[in-house]
């Protein structure tokens, strides 16, 4: 990766470069619009045509955390920090749990196949193919019976279950791509089955695990429907809070909404950026010449 040659614009041709730039701007425009709006005053947001030059303000970000009531008086915390923490805590722990369980299951499916192995794998995949909302009523009932509504355990367990099929399939494909001779070499070198897994197989797929982690984190971070129905005030996640911000006595506060969304994007961008090398290796796993 380090010795990769970088093309200059001249080599690609100006026409292509401009074309590519135009397409990128078109796709990135909604995001750009939101980020710009987060720094605008209400007047600037509602001006037509859209203003690209304006005096930026941080008022919207302040009102993400503090609400000033119409009747005056002291500013009051909105609890956004709490929801942000909820999103990270619920997303992070459910994805980690799914990854741990999924890796164990994937190794089992890959190395110790059962009779009907493919059938089990197929069933696991089909649960992922149906729209999750189909199961909402029974899940809602179950949450009521077991008193899980509005609890961390409940929503984490649910997200773990939803991330599992994806994690199992993806991690299994990484295990499948490993050279079995290396494991046999470890057995010859005196390793038992646990150490073959822990010391030889697992370290070889760290990049794949990182890629799986990022994909699952993004899915979970953005999840809305279950969070809306199954979290309470204490466990509410950011997507639910964003929607609750729409509406109100004063009409939609577009600036506040934009600021919320801008903050919401940041963690995903950071995680993806931090793991980008692993991500690239993860998604190209097995396409590399042996």
């Amino acid at each position: 990766m380090s010795a990769r040659e970088v093309r200059s614009i001249g080599q690609a041709g100006w026409g292509r470069t401009l074309g590519a730039a135009a397409v990128s701007i078109l796709y990135f425009f909604p995001v750009l619009f939101i980020i710009l709006a987060a720094f605008k005053t209400r007047q600037d947001i509602l001006t037509w045509p859209v203003k690209f030059v304006f005096t930026p303000t941080l008022d919207n970000f302040v009102s993400v955390f503090f609400r000033v009531s119409v009747e005056g008086g002291a500013a009051e915390a909105t609890g956004f920090g709490r929801y942000f923490f909820n999103s990270m805590f619920i997303g992070g722990s459910s994805v980690l749990l799914a990854l741990v369980i999924g890796t164990a299951a994937a190794y089992g499916f890959s190395r110790f196949p059962l009779r009907g192995n493919d059938t089990y794998l197929f069933m696991i995949l089909t649960t992922r193919m149906m729209p999750p909302i189909i199961a909402i009523i029974p899940i809602f009932v179950l949450f009521r019976i077991f008193g899980l509504s509005g609890t961390y355990q409940g929503i984490i367990a649910l997200y773990t279950a939803f991330n599992l099929p994806f994690s199992i399939w993806m991690v299994k494909s990484f295990f499948d791509d490993l050279d079995r001779d290396i494991e046999d070499a470890a057995r010859m070198d005196g390793s038992g089955e646990w150490r073959v897994f822990r010391r030889v197989c697992l370290p070889q797929i760290y990049a794949g695990l990182a890629a799986t982690f990022v994909f699952a984190v993004i899915l979970t971070w953005n999840e809305f429907v279950f969070a809306l129905l199954l979290t309470g005030t204490e466990t509410r996640t950011v997507p639910v809070q964003i929607v609750r911000t729409i509406g109100g006595a004063m009409g939609v506060d577009w600036g506040l909404l934009s600021a919320l969304e801008t903050l919401f994007i940041i963690p995903v961008v950071l995680v993806t950026f931090a793991l980008q090398n692993q991500l690239l290796r993860g998604v190209t796993f097995g396409t590399i010449r042996r």
């Binding site: 050279d179 001779d181 290396i182 046999d184 070499a185 470890a186 057995r187 010859m188 070198d189 005196g190 390793s191 038992g192 150490r195 030889v200 370290p203 070889q204 760290y206 042996r290």
Partner: protein
């Protein structure tokens, strides 16, 4: 450690990889297993190593049946065709791995890794990962990892296949030196390359489609192959195998080839039982055919040259005997240089080097005064 393998069978689905293989390898011997790809060499080694199980049959290492012995207790090491180095570990850690698994003290590990790295000229690569090593370095690293535990049995599965020609030559010599230095370590070496087997093996077992067809010294394998398959496998360029027919003449029996006749006298004892018209396969080593210089001292024929392959010291000639039978012969350069394509040459055959096989079974027909089966 001596190795005895009896009646090993192993099936993969409908494919029979091993069909009753029996072998006895002496302690400290360099034993080569020669066979084309798919013959079952790797399966045999893996069963001896313990990482594959046999459907039936037994493996005895040092006289002990190892059926219930776990892999790690067999004191056996293996070098894989793909080298199978741990890609996430440095050369040092690759070499240290077997010792760590044995809970060897740190200082001892460092000492032995350095010692092995020194011996295999890997010292400069200790901090690097396998992906950055050259093919030769990877291979030496794989050998080092196998040797560091000082195994009593070393299994080598086509370790030279992934190397280039020059490196192969050097490494063959290296293996012989290693074997001498290790002294009591038994080596079983699987290869599809007859040159590797002949040059390194003290004895060679030829494996064909899951069966051992012949076990012999390299010299015996070359001179008295047990059947036409072994004859075709051993020797470079490959032996000429030609259809022949037994004929009775007034002065005795003769074997008719399309372009000449051979006196059947040397095989009299066996051929006597066969009737005239029996079909045979005649094996002529390319080295046994030479141009007639003065009076031919053996059977002679005329041939047209249609292809020459000069290899520097020798030249391989493809000739058409009597305009129809294609043959291959090898000539030293000083004799070959004045022969050109389309030349006609008179050739003779060194009668002592002719091999004879039954046509249907391919089994060798021994010369009078030698034991059957070579």
């Amino acid at each position: 450690m001596d190795v005895t393998v009896s009646d090993l069978c192993r099936n993969f689905g409908r494919v029979a990889a091993l069909q009753g293989v029996s072998l006895a390898v002496d302690a400290g011997e360099f034993f080569a297993i020669l066979g084309p790809s798919g013959a079952g060499k790797t399966t045999l080694l893996r069963i001896v190593a313990g990482i594959e199980h046999a459907d039936s049959g037994s493996v005895r290492l040092g006289g002990q049946d190892v059926a219930s012995l776990p892999v790690r207790a067999r004191n056996t090491a293996m070098v894989f065709q793909t080298f199978a180095l741990y890609p996430h570990l440095t050369t040092f850690e690759n070499l240290a791995y077997p010792l760590r698994e044995q809970r060897t003290p740190r200082a001892e590990i460092a000492r032995r890794v350095n010692e092995v790295a020194e011996m295999l000229r890997l010292s400069h690569t200790l901090a690097r990962k396998p992906g950055t090593l050259s093919g030769g370095e990877q291979q030496r690293c794989a050998i080092g990892r196998a040797l560091i535990r000082r195994p009593r049995l070393l299994l080598l599965d086509e370790p030279l296949t992934n190397l280039d020609a020059k490196l192969r030559h050097d490494t063959r010599a290296e293996f012989k030196r290693l074997h001498r230095e290790l002294g009591s370590t038994t080596i079983i070496y699987a290869t599809p390359d007859q040159l590797e087997a002949l040059s390194m093996g003290q004895r060679i077992g030829v494996l064909r489609a899951g069966r051992i067809v012949q076990v012999d010294t390299p010299d015996a394998l070359y001179r008295t192959p047990g059947d036409d398959f072994v004859a075709g496998l051993v020797g470079d360029p490959p032996i000429n195998l030609l259809p022949g027919t037994l004929r009775a003449t007034h002065s005795g029996t003769r074997i008719d080839l399309p372009f000449m006749g051979i006196d059947a006298g040397p095989w009299h004892a066996v051929l006597d039982g066969f009737g005239a018209g029996t079909r045979l396969t005649v094996g002529l080593r390319p080295q046994a055919i030479r141009p007639v210089t003065a009076e031919p001292d053996g059977p002679a024929f005329t041939a047209r040259v249609f292809l020459t392959e000069p290899l520097g010291d020798v030249t391989i000639l493809d000739i058409l005997a009597h305009g129809e039978t294609r043959l291959r012969m090898v000539l030293p350069q000083e004799q070959a240089w004045r022969i050109a394509v389309d030349d006609t040459i008179d050739c003779t055959v060194d009668a002592d080097q002719i091999c004879l096989f039954a046509h249907e079974t391919g089994t060798a027909i021994p010369r009078d005064g030698t034991a059957a089966g070579g």
